[in-house]
C-alpha cells in the first residue's frame, strides 16, 4: 500500500509518497534523495542511519516512514546552514575524526543530540552518547575529542553572542 506522508525535514515542510513497509531510512534515501543518512546494518546496531525525530535520536532504519507524519525530522543535511558548517562538523574536520566517513553522518547527528541537551559533557558522557554508533576506522578517540572540542567552541560562542 502507498500513502502520503507530510512532515518537516530540516526545517522544510515536505510531502512524499511511501510504501507502507518502507523505513524512514529508505524514504529519505530513495524518495527524497537525502542520501547523507547512511545504511550500515538496517538492524539498529550501527547508528549510521541516525536522525533526530522531534529532537530525539533515532535509528531511521527502525522507523516506518509513515510514523513521522506531522513530526519534525533532522538529518545530517540539516546541520550546516547555507554558508557555514555546524561547529560539530567543523570540529570533526579539524580533529580528523573520520577516515572512510560512512559512520560520520550518524556520529554528527548523535553528537548534536547530546550537545542540544548538555553543552558541558564529560568524556564518559560523550562515549555513552555515541555508544550506538559504530566506526571501524577511527578507534573513536578523535571522534570523542572532536565532540568535546565542538562543545567548548559552542559554549564560547554562546557566551559571546
Amino acid at each position: 500500500m502507498r500513502s502520503h506522508v507530510t512532515c518537516t525535514i530540516n526545517g522544510d515542510e515536505v510531502e512524499f509518497l511511501v510504501d507502507d513497509r518502507q523505513t524512514l531510512l529508505d524514504a529519505l534515501r530513495d524518495e527524497l534523495q537525502l542520501t547523507g543518512t547512511k545504511e550500515g546494518c538496517a538492524t539498529g546496531d550501527c547508528g549510521a542511519c541516525s536522525v533526530l525525530i522531534d529532537g530525539r535520536l533515532n535509528c531511521s532504519c527502525l522507523v516506518f516512514a509513515r510514523e513521522v507524519e506531522g513530526a519534525d525530522v533532522l538529518t545530517v543535511e540539516g546541520l550546516a546552514d547555507a554558508d557555514h558548517l555546524h561547529p560539530i562538523q567543523h570540529a570533526f574536520l579539524e580533529g580528523a575524526a573520520l577516515q572512510c566517513g560512512i559512520c560520520t553522518p550518524g556520529l554528527l547527528v548523535a553528537a548534536k543530540a547530546l550537545l542540544d541537551r548538555n553543552l558541558k559533557p564529560t568524556e564518559e558522557e560523550v562515549r555513552y552518547a555515541i555508544a550506538g554508533n559504530l566506526c571501524r576506522c577511527t578507534g573513536y578517540d578523535k571522534v570523542v575529542r572532536s565532540i568535546l572540542d565542538a562543545a567548548a567552541e559552542m559554549r564560547d560562542s554562546a557566551v559571546v553572542s
Partner: protein
Amino acid sequence: MMYTAPVTVDEACQLLASNSAAKVFAGATDLLPQAQAGRRLEDVLVDLKRIPRLMNLEVDDQGWTIGAAASAARLAEHSQLRSEYPGLVEAVALIGSDQIQNRASLGGNLCNASPAADSGPSMVVNEARAVIVSTAGFRTIPIADLVRGPGETSLEPGEFVAEFQLDRPAARRADAYLRFTPRTEMDIAVVGAAARVAVDDAGRCTDAAVVLGAVAPTTVRVGGIAEELVGSTFDEEALARCAALSSEACRPIDDKRGTKEFRRHIAGVLTTRVLRLAAERASEQR
C-alpha cells in the same frame, strides 16, 4: 502490508478483531530487525504510539501506571520512578543505545518474549501486573503469567497489553538489577538477576526475593531466598546459600555467550551482589 495508527484503545481493538493477520508494535526495535532477518511482516501493523493511554506514565496513591508503548528513555528520565524502582529503571536503561532507548517499550520487551529481555526479572520480582485489552474488555494478570516461553506469550488473538501496574513500594524496600554480558555495554544478557529486599530499622531482612533472566525459557523465581534471609543482616554465609539456590534454579542452555556451567556460576555470583545492592538501597530509604 498496511500501516495503521489508531488514536484510541477501542480503535486498536477493532483493528485487531477485524484482521486476523494484524499485529501491534511500539518501538519496532525487535520487529524490524526480525523482518530484516527474513521474518514476514504481518498484513496489518498497528502502531500503538498514537494512543495516549499507551504512552502514559503516571503515579498516584494507588501505584504506578506505565503505558505499554512508553519509551525506555521516558522511564529512565522519570526521577520519582528512579527513586521508587531503581532496579527496574536500571534494567530498562540497559536496553541498547540512546537510539534504541528512545524507541524500546516495556510492552515490546516483554511481549517479544526473549528469555534475555532485561526488564523481565525486575518486573516479575516487583510483582507488576499487565492490563490486557481486546474487544471483550480488560483483564489484569500477574506479570509472571505473561510470558510462556521463547517468543510465546499468554495473549489470545485480538489482545494486547495496554499498560503495566506496580504498587507503591513500602518503606525500607528497594530493588536492584545486575546483568552479565561479554562486553560492558550494548550486549545481550548471559545472566540477568533482579532482587527485591525489605529491611527493618536495624537493617535486618524482613523480606527478599530473586528472579533470574536468560538462564531458562522464561524468568525464574528462585525459591527459598526469603527463608534464608529473613532475620539476617545479609551475612556472607546466608548470601552464599542464596547463591547456591540460584545456581540450582537455573535451567540454562549452552551457546556462544556461555556454557551451562558458566551461567550457573554467574547466576550465583550476581545473586550475592544484587541482594547486597538492594539491601543497601533499602536501608537508605525511609
